[in-house]
């Protein structure tokens, strides 16, 4: 044991060496990076300042762009009144549930397409036609079938999330490297083990990419369905505000949506890094 521990730093490609190497570099690279971050924070602050004071002192029309402080004040009022959490929660619930249904159906469908000829024959034309078409156009059909409440919204979201997920899963599972599969087989792995231990991990980066494409699509769809059918949610609240020419309300909605979108997308990126921690793409 002692010998190995001593020998490790000398070995050219040992993991401990790789981890140690960037450490001295980081000191040199820190300051330009800090400058970059500082400048970018300053840009955001300047934009917020232009928004606030431009609107306040009449450079921008306060109806077209109400001052930031007024918008934030409205969000605060609504937060106290309890409408913000309800709207955000409803939007998030519809988007995430639809997305989850799309994923639960789409990922197995993509795997089956890659592994079974019959499923591929049946689904390939449907997916290749469904993937590029504007799914939102089908909304009136779902309204007709499932009425205007949560069911039709969630089904619409699931429908639009399904195609990117199934296409990415299929692409990820059908272009796998043969060697790991053969070696797993030669070690006696059964089909089930092969699926969980080889196919899924190898296709995981592409599946996750599909999920990362689908989630924003799902959020766009959720907002549109809420705008069209009402039933609260951020989209419903915004379109109501728009119809009553309440521009403060519209911008309060936009700020909420920006924060919601940012949080959701960033957390998915974090989850991706966590899941793919073993993958070369996370090693940088």
């Amino acid at each position: 044991m002692m010998n190995m521990a001593q020998a490790r730093p000398i070995a050219p490609n040992s993991p401990s060496q790789k981890q140690k190497l960037p450490a001295p570099r980081r000191g040199l690279h820190l300051s330009p990076h800090m400058v970059d971050v500082a400048v970018q924070v300053a840009v955001v602050a300047a934009l917020a300042g232009i928004w606030e004071f431009g609107a306040r002192f009449g450079a921008l029309n306060p109806f077209l762009l109400p001052p930031l402080s007024v918008v934030l004040g409205r969000i605060w009022e609504d937060l106290i009144a309890g409408t913000v959490p309800v709207d955000l929660g409803l939007t998030l619930y519809r988007a995430l549930l639809g997305f989850a249904i799309g994923a639960v159906i789409g990922i197995p469908a993509g795997i089956l397409m890659a592994r079974s000829n019959v499923v591929r024959w049946f689904l390939d034309p449907l997916v290749s036609i469904g993937f590029p078409m504007p799914k939102i156009a089908f909304l009136p059909i779902f309204i007709l079938w499932f009425d205007i409440y949560d069911t039709s919204k969630i089904i619409m979201v699931a429908f639009s999330c399904f195609f990117p997920i199934v296409a990415a899963t299929y692409a990820g599972c059908s272009s796998l490297d043969k060697w790991p599969i053969w070696s797993a087989r030669s070690f006696g792995a059964g089909e089930r083990e092969l699926l969980w231990e080889v196919y899924l991990p190898m296709a995981m980066p592409q599946i996750l990419t599909g999920l990362q494409v689908a989630l924003p699509v799902g959020m766009i769809t959720t907002i549109v369905t809420e705008m069209l059918m009402g039933g609260r949610g951020v989209g419903g609240a915004m379109i109501m505000a728009g119809r009553f020419a309440d521009s403060v309300g519209v911008f309060a909605g936009i700020v909420q949506i920006i924060i919601l979108g940012f949080v959701v997308v960033k957390s998915v990126e974090m989850i991706r890094r966590r899941i793919l921690i073993w993958h070369p793409e996370s090693r940088r």
Partner: protein, 265 residues
């Protein structure tokens, strides 16, 4: 699938291609049969699932009545205006961001903040800014399509092999020359990918903005047919819009393949 069969055959190519396409798209026929079956046996009411013959009739009367083509032309012209502007501005901005640090520092935070925002949330904003006319929808499509193009171009331009840049510079190319002759071309695959995403977004935003605020266009046509209870016509219009979206993507993919012919492999 189909290419496995194509390998060994040496028959007449056209007939073979027809058979091949027929086999490939036969599941659609199955779906259509299932659709008719559900309607005919009365398992699902005619209201919910109008017969395909009825839908075809409604489609042809809309087509020859001219309303379909008029609304399509209105929609497509708005989408094209927004998308075209987004591609021009987006490619320019992406290249400048990749090439010049001040531009990058200025626009990166803006892109970071607005990229994850669901673009349909802008519908009420453009409604307040520009009213219910064409300009609000063009602005919406422009804003929605801009960021995918910017991000695609930026990633492509940042990933250019530095040897290409160095050799161009050592041959005496100026910075603008390098940008135009090397970076733009090397980034082309990523730019074209970004534009494809933008194309899909333009259709989504076109239809959904016409659902919410419009007086013409295919989205408006679909929703007013639905409100009026003319379901066969509504189904026909929806399938037509889906078909246009599909065709646009296919045409774009063909165009992109042609544009990238110079690439190896």
């Amino acid at each position: 699938m189909s290419d496995i069969l194509a390998g060994g055959r040496t028959g007449p190519p056209l007939a073979y291609a027809i058979v091949n396409t027929a086999v490939r798209f036969s599941p659609l026929l199955l779906l259509a049969l299932g659709w008719e079956f559900l309607g005919l046996t009365g398992l699902v009411s005619q209201q919910m699932l109008p017969g395909l013959g009825e839908i075809a009739d409604a489609f042809s009367s809309m087509l020859f009545g001219g309303e379909l083509l008029y609304n399509t032309a209105r929609s497509i012209s708005r989408a094209a205006a927004g998308l075209g502007g987004a591609v021009v501005v987006g490619v320019l901005l992406g290249l400048l961001m990749a090439q010049f640090r001040p531009v990058r520092l200025l626009f990166n935070p803006i892109v970071q903040i607005f990229y994850p925002m669901p673009k349909s949330a802008l519908i009420p904003v453009v409604m307040i800014w520009l009213g219910l006319g064409d300009s609000s929808k063009i602005l919406l499509i422009f804003l929605g399509c801009l960021l995918p193009v910017v991000v695609g171009t930026y990633n492509g331009a940042r990933g250019v092999n530095p040897f290409l840049l160095w050799s161009a510079a050592s041959l005496g190319a100026s910075r603008v020359d390098v940008l135009r002759e090397v970076v733009l071309r090397a980034a082309m695959p990523d730019i074209l990918n970004g534009c494809r995403t933008a194309l899909a977004f333009s259709f989504i935003l076109m239809v959904s903005s016409e659902f919410v605020i419009a007086t013409d266009g295919v989205g408006f046509m679909i929703s007013s047919l639905g409100d009026g209870g003319q379901y066969p016509a509504m189904f026909a219009a929806i399938f037509f819009v889906a078909g246009i979206g599909f065709a646009a993507d296919r045409l774009y993919a063909m165009f992109a393949r042609r544009a990238l012919r110079w690439r190896e492999a």
